[in-house]
Symmetry: C2
Subunit: 206 residues, 2 copies
Amino acid sequence: MPMPVLDFWFDFASTYSYLSALRIEQLAAGSGIAVRWRPFLLGPIFASQGWSTSPFNLYEVKGRYMVRDIGRIAAQRGIGFRLPAPFPQHSVLAARVALGIEDMAQRGAFSRAVMVAQFADGLAINEPGTMQVCLERAGLVPGAHLQRAQSDAVKAGLRTQTEAARALGIFGAPTTVTPDGEMFWGDDRLEAAIAWACSPGGRASV
Amino acid sequence: MPMPVLDFWFDFASTYSYLSALRIEQLAAGSGIAVRWRPFLLGPIFASQGWSTSPFNLYEVKGRYMVRDIGRIAAQRGIGFRLPAPFPQHSVLAARVALGIEDMAQRGAFSRAVMVAQFADGLAINEPGTMQVCLERAGLVPGAHLQRAQSDAVKAGLRTQTEAARALGIFGAPTTVTPDGEMFWGDDRLEAAIAWACSPGGRASV
């Protein structure tokens, strides 16, 4: 029987996506589940909800709470956290580089490297130099990947990816989708998503 | 040493408040912590964020997700759930009756009865008849409590309560606040709030 696959929809600029990106692979593997890393852009989805930026900027008290909430969880998990400035970062370049990496283990390693660079090390993820560092940290050769990220195929692929997220009814990140199409929003639903995928019905491919 | 007290800020019309209302007392008691039930109105706070109704109505896909999310959790916990119509219900009357009950154990029992009546039994919580049923289910004599709910003191008390919530930076419900002022938003942070209140610093009264 093939391994069931969780779709992990995330935006590189999303703070709660950072929390999940660092643990989903290990959690899923422990349950015999594979992860498909699916970067997309929240910006266009927020825009169609009438938001010009992150709700954490639009609603200041919610933004302050988010920073505290992530800080507590990061401390508990022993990972770093600082809010990037500006927040949110432009995530298009990182998303394109990630989409251009076809091997899922490599894409996962690169994605984690970007998250750590941004939320722990304070690097700007819209800079090619940061992408180069992250590709290297993921054990990849930067040149070809940076070039591939600028190809029309990858650019169109990211637009398709974002439209697919919208079509699924995704409105925030991270969102984890089980093989039978059940949707779980938020880092705090990651365990539930994995439990669902492990249930008899949840493993079925759609 | 007196028992540490968790402030449980909730709106009777809030679906995630329903989830927490049914379990907070037992969870807290297991850790030697008391609960102060603090009903308030989300409406004025949403209005100052520019929202005319619940975000689950303003953002339709988010609303659909919420119903599914609560349904999954309710099934797992063995409690009923149906979305009231209309949603959200008018929670002013229930909040006033609750605030008029000074004994915390009684206020808790009444609050749980209202939540079950609304989200499991499908009763309209803005009707005095429903309040009567809930007061009886909580072992209270309805007449005096319904009258007290209409007093100027209780009406003013609810306005004060809502302003106090806003002043704390509360933007959603449920929100649980520990004795040292740490804030936890959402039913999915209830365990974290209790753990915090049990930590050496978290038990300190402010």
